[in-house]
């Protein structure tokens, strides 16, 4: 629906007011990253400085947390891509006993509140005598990342004709060739979109992580500690700004790449 008439004034004010509510807090982070005030959240900032950016860049704990977050996100996304694609292929292509159950099973970790998934996994790990490590964080993240890849892949599999696979095989391709030359190119963009979403979700996850991480600190856990017990406000300000910049760029890119009415990958998070 689209109208060429002008919007009523009241509606316009309400909509723009809503927009300010949505964007102002994020804009505020950019101002605070340059404030000279160290001890409080004083507004307006008494002065502006760029020295905290340098201080943050020199902080080993921030870099370590970032590295761990990237590592966890990369491994869990890879795991989710493999498991999600396999499951999607099975569910989309064949009928078998327990098919409906599996499609429900995959959604469950994201449909239930994160705290429930977190506690369940924690008790499973202690029951199986698995010590907390990077790998327990990865398993926790992969658990809820699978559904993202699965959703994207299953939709694509349903739209791809099964005749393509049959044709490839009739023409003499073996299973591996069929997968690499026919199936993979067809589902590649769906996997890319799903993989990006899964990566972003894992990179930002905090609730499940608090239950599955031992003494490991991912970037969100670092942020959380800083929120509960602020020690270095200026450094937190700069880290927050950096995280916003990292999230803004893909959104802008997605918008400019897909603005001609294409369905954007992020619009169904």
């Amino acid at each position: 629906m689209h109208s060429n008439t002008r919007a009523p004034l009241g509606l316009k004010f309400a909509a723009i007011g809503g927009l300010i509510f949505l964007l102002a807090p994020i804009a505020l982070i950019f101002v605070y990253a340059f404030t000279t005030e160290e001890k409080s959240f004083q507004w307006p900032p008494p002065g502006l400085t760029t020295k905290w950016i340098g201080v943050t860049l020199g902080r080993a704990d921030v870099w370590e947390a970032l590295a761990l977050s990237l590592k966890v996100a990369a491994i869990s996304t890879t795991l989710a891509l493999i498991l999600g694609t396999l499951t999607a292929a099975a569910v989309a292509r064949s009928r078998f006993f327990g098919r409906e159950t599996i499609s429900l099973l995959v959604i469950l970790p994201i449909a239930l509140p994160g705290i429930i998934t977190g506690i369940s996994l924690r008790s499973a790990f202690s029951l199986l005598d698995i010590p907390f490590s990077t790998w327990t964080i990865v398993l926790g993240h992969a658990t809820f990342c699978i559904v993202i890849v699965y959703n994207n892949a299953v939709a694509r599999f349903r739209r791809t004709s099964g005749a393509l696979v049959d044709a490839a095989m009739d023409l003499g391709a073996d299973g591996v060739q069929t997968f690499v030359l026919v199936i993979l190119p067809n589902i590649a963009t769906a996997l890319l979109a799903g993989g990006m979403l899964a990566f972003a979700l894992s990179f930002d996850e905090v609730i499940v992580t608090t239950f599955t991480a031992g003494n490991q600190t991912t970037l969100p856990i670092w942020m959380l500690e800083e929120l509960v017990r602020p020690r270095q406000r200026p450094v937190t300000n700069v880290v927050a700004m950096a995280v916003v910049i990292v999230t803004v760029l893909p959104i802008l890119a997605a918008y400019y790449l897909t603005r001609d009415g294409e369905h954007t990958a992020g619009s169904d998070k």
């Binding site: 505020l28 507004w43 929120l227």
Partner: protein, 318 residues
């Protein structure tokens, strides 16, 4: 291969290489193929995850010995009875009322944004609205909470804004109110409410906008041609058509608020929400049965909620 040799049988000879041969064998046995594909997910989600979930739920039927603090492994409803104690019942009521308040406010706030974006915004405005919704949606959860800590701080921008507008009396009046007030915004229910509203608002805007975009503009023109006032066409045409979208959005805002334990921990007074109660019961208090019983509460509430939403056709709007 060069052309077809009709003297040869149509079935290819077995391929060389162990990988190709194994793959071929699997493909010729469809049941095996499917079995192998779903095996990893069944092992992980079906056995480890579901097993742990069921183990957790079973624990809610155990109880804790009040003197020794040891879990008694006998079937009982005693732990569920404990949920009805005034202190615990307060936690549940507080969380559900917060979730309801956040959901209603999100619907009211989302509607004009979604309606404007769907019907009137074009060009630069359309881009601005897209970014205005996507940026808060995709920004890190903790960064958003942090941003609100900056906004709500006693020395922060909101207090400053009220002072500049000579409205400090209004803020003080609000904070002196019995339930929603507190020492400052960042330690009051109002603060918790605002942060929840901010964080989950995009989840309401997106489905509402999707449902509004499907409303033909001619329908509204027809309503006004037939003599409906703007208020009437909103109430009788636009709102009923947007309702599935609003309900779809409310599923997100309601369930996400029910399960959250980080926001009330960082912005709010010391009174617990369900998520925090679960966290402290399983952690420091060591009362796993009560923690398990508490996790059943949001599951049951959301089960009822989803059942109702399904009846109203909300799932078509997702």
């Amino acid at each position: 291969m060069s052309g077809f040799d009709t003297t040869q049988p149509a079935i290819f000879t077995p391929r060389s290489g162990p990988l190709s041969r194994t793959v071929d064998w699997v493909i010729r046995h469809p049941r095996m193929f499917v079995f192998l594909m779903v095996l990893p997910i069944t092992l992980w989600l079906g056995i480890v995850y579901i097993g742990a979930l069921i183990a957790l739920l079973i624990q809610s039927f155990f109880s804790i010995d009040e003197f020794s603090g040891i879990v008694v492994r006998e079937f009982t409803f005693k732990t569920y009875g404990e949920l009805l104690r005034p202190y615990n019942l307060d936690i549940i009521l507080r969380t559900v009322s917060m979730a309801a308040a956040v959901t209603i406010a999100a619907a009211v706030l989302a509607f004009p944004i979604a309606y404007f974006a769907a019907r009137y915004a074009k060009g630069k405005w359309k881009a601005l609205f897209y970014i205005g919704v996507m940026l808060p949606l995709w920004s890190s959860y903790l960064v958003k909470v942090y941003a609100w800590k900056l906004v709500l701080a006693k020395e922060g921008i909101l207090t400053w804004l009220f002072a500049k507008l000579h409205l400090t009396w209004l803020l003080d009046g609000l904070l002196s109110l019995p339930v929603i007030g507190g020492n400052s915004l960042s330690v009051s229910y109002t603060g918790t409410f605002l942060v929840f509203l901010y964080i989950w608002l995009p989840y309401m805007i997106i489905p509402v906008q999707a449902s509004l975009e499907r409303v033909p503009g001619a329908l509204l023109e027809a309503a006004s041609d037939l003599g409906a006032t703007p208020r009437q066409s909103f109430r009788m045409v636009l709102f009923p058509l947007a309702l599935p979208g609003i309900i779809a959005g409310s599923i997100f805002t309601f369930s996400l608020t029910l399960g959250d334990y980080i926001v009330p921990q960082i912005v709010g007074n010391s009174r617990l929400f369900i998520g925090q109660a679960v966290y402290t019961q399983q952690g420091t208090a060591g009362n796993i049965p009560l923690a398990a019983a508490f996790t059943v509460v949001p599951i049951v509430i959301m089960g009822i909620y989803l059942w109702g939403a399904r009846k109203m056709g909300a799932f078509d709007a997702l």
